[in-house]
């Protein structure tokens, strides 16, 4: 049953003398929701960028669907079925929600660099997909408003919809709850849960909010100073002494 869809082996990434990621290995099981947590500066975002191709790994190997993608350019990975969001909002604020979605939809349909007009069937397919994505994240009412006008939570949902626009099987979310108010968090959590339950996607996310991590993730990896501190189910992780010392204890106390 446990099909590994995405695997990273012995990933190393240094910036000058800073060992941001030191020998990290990770397996993501197809159809699961997995989380990467760790204190600030633990190397979570660096690892994420290395895994998605935004940083070049100094050493290590990344495989996706059994194919070695360690040196593959980003757009190749996206075409293979990886999607991702960023820690800082990465929508195009002056474009409408619809146009934001269009960019990814056209890439997926291989239309980005073609000059001839879209024919009627292609146009219809793209429009239907856009409608479905808008429905999925519940942004239909705001489809033609510039994203900059939307509330923070809606912008985050727009981002998630955008990452879905390229038809990914693996969605990587970098701190999806960052900067959200509590009520907005609930909306985004619901959508992430639906990615898994309704669309059957594999989700890998980095998150600070422990309540979200413990309620969403099936497996959790804890990073500390660029190394793997622990790995396991939410129950195992919350019971782990080392993790409590390094990270969770403090957070849980803060959140109570």
């Amino acid at each position: 049953m446990s099909d590994v869809i995405f695997q990273a082996e012995n990933i190393v990434k240094h910036f000058g003398g800073v060992h941001a990621v030191e020998d990290v290995s990770l397996s993501v099981i197809a159809g699961s929701i997995q989380a990467i947590i760790g204190p600030n500066g633990a190397g979570k975002s660096t690892l994420f960028n290395a895994l998605s191709g935004f940083y070049k790994c100094d050493s290590g190997k990344v495989t996706f669907k059994g194919v070695d993608i360690t040196t593959a350019p980003i757009h190749r990975r996206i075409a293979m079925g990886m999607g991702r969001t960023f820690q800082t909002s990465s929508i195009f604020p002056n474009l409408s929600v619809y146009d934001n979605l269009l960019i990814g939809l056209q890439s997926a349909a291989n239309l980005a660099f073609r000059f001839r007009p879209v024919d009627a069937t292609q146009h219809k397919t793209i429009e239907e997909k856009a409608e479905r994505l808008l429905d999925f994240v519940n942004l239909k009412a705001s489809a033609h408003r510039p994203v900059a006008e939307l509330a923070h939570g809606s912008q985050r949902l727009c981002e998630i919809a955008m990452s879905l626009s390229t038809d990914p099987v693996l969605v990587m979310l970098d701190e999806p709850m960052a900067g959200l108010a509590h009520a907005e968090t609930t909306r985004v959590v619901e959508v992430i849960r639906k990615l898994h339950s309704e669309l059957g996607l594999t989700v890998l996310f980095v998150e600070h909010n422990m309540r979200v991590v413990l309620s969403l993730a099936q497996r959790i990896m804890v990073l500390d100073r660029g190394r793997v501190l622990a790995e396991g189910t939410p129950a195992e992780i919350s019971a782990n002494e080392a993790v409590r010392d390094a990270y969770i204890g403090k957070e849980v106390i803060e959140s109570v």
Binding site: F54, I78, F86, S90, I91, F92, N94, L95, T166
Partner: protein, 289 residues
Amino acid sequence: MAHVAPEIFNGLILGAFFAVVAIGLSLIMNLTGTINLAHGSFMTLAGYLAFAMVSAGTNWWFALAAAPILTVIVGVAVERTLIRPLYRRDPVYSLLLTFGLSLIAEEVYRLIWGTNGVPFSPPPSLQGSVSLGFTDFPAFRLFIAGALLVIIVALVVFLQRTRLGLRLRAAVQDSEMIAALGTNTQLLYMLNFGLGILIAGVAGVLAAGLLGLNPQSGNALLMPAFVTVIVGGMGSLLGAVAGGLLIGVAISVTTLFLPAFSEIVMYILMAVILLIRPRGLFGEEGIFG
């Protein structure tokens, strides 16, 4: 006042050149942060290539189409080999590189085509003049005015109405996200650079017939084009057009009444506008189109 009207029209044409060069510069600067100081050299190259073709007996119209395309090929080769490795670095690196390239290009043009300018006249069909009612106007100038207008309108349509245009506008806002949405950003940067050079190339051939052709003729338009970008506001297409026309008219009219000031009038204009509107006439942050 009768002699002011044609001077204003001449100023508008000069300004349209500034605008078109400024738009090419902005396209490249907004997307990749590259300040292309070799932009003028590409204009000069297109002018010389067209001159060489016409001298070899080809039709002027053919040269107007072919010289910019050859220039784009050279430009894209430069982008892929020399500029691309610098995208992740501070913009100062590409600024120094393109400055060096422009110095090298100027010497190369000198070696091949001589230090002095070469005569490059418009085709017979565009010589002579057209009556505008109140005054007779050279046909070539009218043609240039029309051609530059077509370039600007075509570019607006391209940026606003095409898939690639949507991508370019989006990539200016966030190039990481555009990559995460499956766009090949290196290809996008290359096409964008090529587009900037194509516009420069067409402008270069047109300018060669109007303003003269010598090893520095393209660079002579570069400084006013930078001032245009600043006056119009970084990242604004409308601003580049408005800024260019304003500067062109200011230079022409000053030449008529106070020739000694014609060289510095654009800087005075820039200083005044920056005092009133620090971001330029239509300045927005990093957004194009």
